[in-house]
Subunit: 611 residues, 2 copies
């Protein structure tokens, strides 16, 4: 407090920043970066590298205003033409005075699609938390039982316990409710988690904490019905788009670790609040919570340390199911509500993969099924003869549009389908907007069609003799959409290095699949089904994926795209104690294969890179 | 923050207050009461009424300085002579400028004796928390178990759980300790509560939360040895000295309830820290905590509601044993340490009485034993034929020196023994200081000796014909110590109303005992032992107590004074799981008798008032 006047006297002047075309205005201290200014008002400029100037995602254009000169990073990332057009990287550009900034939609993440639907298998209703209606006789001089005893006696023979938070509210609550209440009992813990007005339905919250997005569902625990669903971006994205940037950021200091945790918990709380609003409920009615996520997201959500996840040999703090008071992570729902998260299979085969296996039926199939979650890390499981093998492979961010010359997320204007016909590429974009860049499914199609058209050879090189292969920045590149067609100021290309990124990804996934097949002692032809989960998995074109060798060669109809199966699995875990037991059993019995030390991984990897 | 300059500009001038003879100086805003000024520097002026000007405890004298005029409350509480001497009530006197204040020791509570020792029965060492030394193999690429799994596998076959707080520290902790640690395991909860450097001894903290004082003990859980002990005043005393004032204060608003809770938890933390310092340990080494207290103190310590304890029919929020994370009450010891508190028998027969019954052996005696905790409420239990009957009776604050004309706490100068010989009273004081007033045991003696000397008749009236009975404020009073003898500015008297307070107390206790005897179907002559616990119980003269009928007529040697048996019981609960089970059994099987509605209580009460 004593330092307040001093701090005020040295506080820098504030500058005004107009962000176009989104039409937001930010007021920030002079000396802030454009990236910080955009994030300060919720404009989600992409930043894969966490603001270090190395990913080139946060391109913007200075329309007007005084900013710091170009940095060396910008000179390396931007072409002469881009520099001439006034383009900069938002994280490298520091505001000295008021400014007007143009943000191309390819630099934004906010408008991307958030996938919520997922394939669901039916589960028998047997939720962890159930409601018991009680009507108590008030205490009298002849019946002096303590309030808690009075309530618990009514709940014989299970005689559950009551934690301190619920106990601390119990006496006034029972009196306010005139001794008539709906009691929510957590059956595995045999604990009273909420005392609510008679007739209150027990609601559950299922959350899928993705690296990019958060999906949440409010579920009626008595009917199993999903009453509301919604998604928002994971706010941790401000410190970097991938798992490793988050871990690096959390490791800088304990305060940063805490603020990453708080950011995601607050976002989930806010999302849950909105979903409750939609159905006329309130957060206090959420009497159970299930959270799934990859191991890093799971650890950061729970406030667990992640340093050991980011350093060899990359181990989790815990791989067991979490069953903790929701308030322990700062999530304020019903007073005593617990938070459940299923167990993990390994550091990089997380609770979200377990949830996906549950929801897609792979957890108990008798068939021979391969299940994949394709992302920067691709988790793959193989079910065969009642056993399960799992692995994780580093497939890189190409399918998220990163490390690709004209890559972008699945935002409006992203090319999501590419078809080669009559000597030219035809494209379809998200929202049917003028094409801006390529998202994951578009890149996959572009490569597959390029191979089919003979533009890309079996080693991944571009055929210089093809008319669509033209010089670009001194190297040959395949012109997908000329600037004239795009109604855009630049051409959209696929470069040799873009093809290389896809080759690395498919090589890694192919090698993972081969190692699993070998462990199970079966041939690829014996696969009866391939299950593909997650956002990219939902939107990819199965034919393209098979054609380039990303997925095994199977009849197209044997591939099942299950959408956000992790979120569906989280809902099942709310509704069924049997599913929780199954998750534990599955994680315990899965055979995890570590690819980095596997003797045949490298050979399979190289073999899988060609077309 | 924005309001800071405004607040500064209207902040009142500060005044300097010299407190004599303690020699403390306080700086407080003009407009503060003398009571607030004294409390601000830790000078513990007594205040039974919580500063409402009604108890008359906080008498002070203005030596010098400008204060507000006398209030109506002061005119009612202070005699003309006292007013002439410049006496005031500190809570009614507002400081307008610098002042010098004299505080008589009778108005102080800080120097009173804090009883820590207690009679102990031996228990077989079987603590709830035990240490397990582990040496783990670090993770390698060939052994990728999660950190928690690695630790738990070492603790087979019990395979305990780990709560989130311990889990959140586990990974860095194990690495910092080079994979070699002393793990503290809470056996009833089968949970890891701390991971400490190899060789760390497990320590426990036992706390007796009294209405007046807090006693704490640090115990070596492996040897059972008490390594450090200490006591401080319960800081809640600032809002009133008795349980009902605390309840009233907690009921004013939730913030006040919270601050009462925080005050006592902080005082316990500070005390525990000092005890740890003494033995070169730190708070983090305290891996288990046991807290006992009467029901109001227990509820306020745990943050449980107390409104229903203060309103008919006076029921507890919970009567079950508490077994909760210590952090739930804001007590920061070892990260995952739990806090145990034994069950209660009834709203006014609390966990401290249960602990006393355990420590004194009454809990399992085959003999016929009466056990009393004498205080403002006196809890009485009768063990007979393996059964137990309990009751609570409102004996009033006379034995704490309150409601007695010249009463005070057992501070230096308090008369603790009175003997009548050769026509005059001989007195012994705490610390052999000049007599200031009467503490509980002194009052008891004075009445007993007054009865023996024929100064007090069987109905409690003072014999006006006795030379030591003189007029005082217009009524006859028994002169115990003339001002000349005392080296003090006023005479020390025993008044008719003082005798009446003792009659009420002994009537209430007598009635409680009679009701218990009748319930058990035995005669007073069948009692084999009387156990008297607590501070007053320790210091009282047994002959006096029997003579005036406070205790039943038994041979003196059948009365056992067990000191702070509640504290001893708390230590036993740290050291023995069997004691915890016994406490639950005892509270469950005790037959509680409600006196307020008992048909014979009033008759026994009246019969018990005479001498």
């Amino acid at each position: 407090m004593a330092e307040q006047p001093l701090r005020l006297s040295v506080e820098p002047a504030r500058v005004r920043v107009d962000l176009e075309p989104v039409g937001r205005r930010a007021q920030v201290p002079a000396g802030s970066t454009v990236l910080a200014a955009a994030h300060s008002v919720g404009v989600e400029l992409a930043s894969t590298c966490g603001g270090r100037g190395t990913c080139g995602c946060c391109r913007i254009r200075i329309v007007d205003g005084a900013v710091t000169p170009l940095t060396e990073n910008e000179r390396q990332r931007l072409t002469a033409a881009e520099l001439d057009a006034g383009e900069r990287l938002a994280c490298q550009t520091v505001l000295a005075a008021d400014a007007r900034i143009e943000i191309p939609s390819s630099s934004l993440t906010t408008t991307q699609r958030l996938q919520l639907e997922g394939h669901e298998i039916e589960v028998a209703l047997d939720p962890a938390v159930v409601r018991v209606e009680v009507e108590l006789a008030p205490p009298t001089i002849h019946d002096l039982r303590a309030d808690a005893t009075r309530l618990l006696d009514e709940l014989e023979p299970d005689h559950p316990t009551i934690g301190l938070p619920v106990l601390a509210e119990l006496s006034p609550r029972l009196r306010e409710l005139l001794w008539s209440a709906a009691v929510a009992v957590h059956r595995p813990a045999n604990e009273i988690v909420a005392v609510q007005p008679a007739g209150t339905l027990p609601l559950g919250l299922a959350v899928d904490v993705g690296t990019t997005k958060l999906a949440a569902y409010v579920v009626d625990l008595e009917t199993g019905e999903t009453l509301a669903r919604g998604g928002v971006l994971n706010p941790q994205i401000a410190t970097g788009e991938d798992v490793l940037s988050r871990i690096a950021s959390a490791n800088t200091d304990p305060g940063e670790h805490r603020s990453l945790q708080q950011a995601v918990v607050e976002a989930v709380t806010h999302l849950a609040e909105n979903l409750c609003d939609e159905i006329g409920a309130c957060l206090e009615e959420l009497v159970d919570v299930v959270v799934v996520g990859n191991t890093a997201m799971h650890h950061l959500f729970a406030g667990l340390p992640v340093r050991q996840l980011g350093e060899a040999p990359y181990v989790a703090a815990t791989s067991a199911a979490l069953d903790i008071p929701a308030t322990d992570v700062g999530l304020f729902v019903a007073t005593g509500a617990r938070l459940y998260s299923p167990p993990l299979i390994a550091g990089y085969v997380g609770a979200d993969h377990v949830a996906m296996l549950l929801a897609s039926g792979v957890a108990e199939t008798d068939a021979t099924v391969l299940a994949l979650d394709i992302g920067t890390n691709t988790e793959i499981s193989l079910a065969c003869g009642g056993r399960l093998w799992s692995c994780s492979t580093a497939s890189g961010p190409a399918f998220e549009g990163a490390h690709i010359s004209n890559g972008m997320r699945a935002a409006p204007g992203a090319i999501e389908r590419v078809h080669f016909r009559d000597g030219r590429f035809l494209v379809q974009t998200v929202g049917d907007r003028p094409p801006v860049g390529l998202c994951g499914s578009g890149i996959l199609d572009a490569v597959a069609e390029g191979v089919r058209a003979g533009i890309i050879d079996p080693r991944g090189a571009l055929s210089k003799s093809h008319p669509l292969v033209v010089p670009h920045n001194g190297r040959p590149a395949c012109l997908l959409v000329p600037a004239a067609d795009a109604g855009h100021h630049r051409d959209i290309f696929l470069t040799r290095s873009d093809v290389g990124e896809i080759q690395l990804a498919k090589g890694a996934i192919h090698a993972g699949i081969e190692v699993l097949l070998a462990a199970a002692g079966i041939d690829v032809g014996e696969l009866e089904e391939v299950v593909v989960a997650g956002a990219f998995g939902t939107y990819l074109d199965v034919r393209s994926a098979i054609r380039i060798g990303l997925l095994p060669e199977l009849p197209e109809e044997h591939v099942r795209q299950v959408g956000n199966a992790a979120g569906a699995g989280a809902r099942q875990l709310l509704l069924s104690r049997e599913r929780r037991a199954r998750a534990v059993e599955l994680a315990r019995s899965a055979n995890y294969l570590e690819l980095t030390t596997h003797p045949e991984f490298a050979d399979h990897f190289v073999a899988g890179m060609g077309f």
